[in-house]
Symmetry: C2
Subunit: 191 residues, 2 copies
């Protein structure tokens, strides 16, 4: 998606890892106008899927998920990274491995917000190894709900997450796919 790719080229910074730092507009400081444009694109791509709920994960998935939800007019649920005192009742929970931090963490959602009749769209800011999306899929599976796909702002195409999920049959729509990033710059996958 051109608007996002242009913004990545203008403001993205490549750090060792390699990490693509887009904290000026996506996941620390956020441009709400751009978020709404991305949300509209997500709504358009999944409009035939009869989505009843959007599921994301705190914190940096929330902005784009809300923008997509505002265009799709469906509730947005975010998985919490650990149990907090204001999450009561019965929970679905799963373990997610963080490759960035080298640790596992638990994510939870309250059972009452995922029903077996739900058609759930996963939304997140980044897709790299796919661990977060797989964790969210597991929560949806526990609820016997249906995963209709995943909408991602930026996919790191040189990591295995996107291929793994698509090979498993999931529809994954990434608004920008970075196939290469190094001292020569950033190369996006062509549609």
């Amino acid at each position: 998606m051109k608007a996002l790719e242009e913004r990545i080229l203008a403001e993205g910074k490549i750090l060792p890892g390699p990490v693509l730092k887009v904290s000026s507009f996506l996941n620390h400081q956020m441009d709400p106008d751009l978020m709404m444009v991305l949300g509209a694109e997500i709504a358009q791509r999944f409009q035939a899927e009869h989505v009843t709920k959007i599921l994301t994960i705190e914190s940096s998935g929330i902005a784009i998920a809300i923008a997509a939800g505002a265009h799709m007019h469906v509730p947005v649920l975010f998985a919490k990274k650990h149990r907090t005192s204001n999450v009561s009742g019965v929970l679905y929970q799963t373990l997610v491995h963080s490759y960035t931090h080298g640790t596992d963490y638990t994510v939870v959602v309250e059972r009452e917000f995922l029903k077996d009749s739900d058609r759930v769209l996963i939304v997140d800011d980044f897709l790299a190894n796919g661990a977060a999306v797989e964790g969210l899929c597991d929560l949806i599976r526990q609820a016997s709900a249906t995963t209709v796909g995943a909408a991602i702002a930026i996919e790191k195409g040189f990591q295995e997450g996107g291929k793994k999920l698509r090979d498993a049959g999931m529809r994954v729509e990434s608004l920008a796919i970075v196939d290469q990033m190094d001292e020569n710059g950033i190369r996006f996958r062509q549609a």
Copy 2:
């Protein structure tokens, strides 16, 4: 604000604490259409203030902050609750006391996203004792920026945060103020 008060009455649950649980539409599952209505109201109330940036705190402030930002067309910055590996560079940081959890935690923002010329509106989902808002004010002060006020979805009027901030001269706009909640139900402050 009537739309929010009605939603609180319809779906809010009072738990010991007292905690007002609104996780069906505000801070776990979120209604993006309601968020956009709240965001429009915030934009309207602060339209004369020449806001250049919205500052919130992860995670549950992000949704309403993005909605307000989408109406005000200004960047939204969220303070992160601890240092993560993708926050590089020089940070402003401050300590916030969590009355809910009985602990202190550090929140940080990258310095480059708060300038001394910024006129900053603080946005959050809840105001109780005011610790989070005070922490955000401290970050803004460190940047020599200007705090124009705070916009809050739900203020617990029976806790001291709102009074303390207003007595200190801050403009605090809460879209619903709960003055009492107990077995007899919820009573809102009249405008």
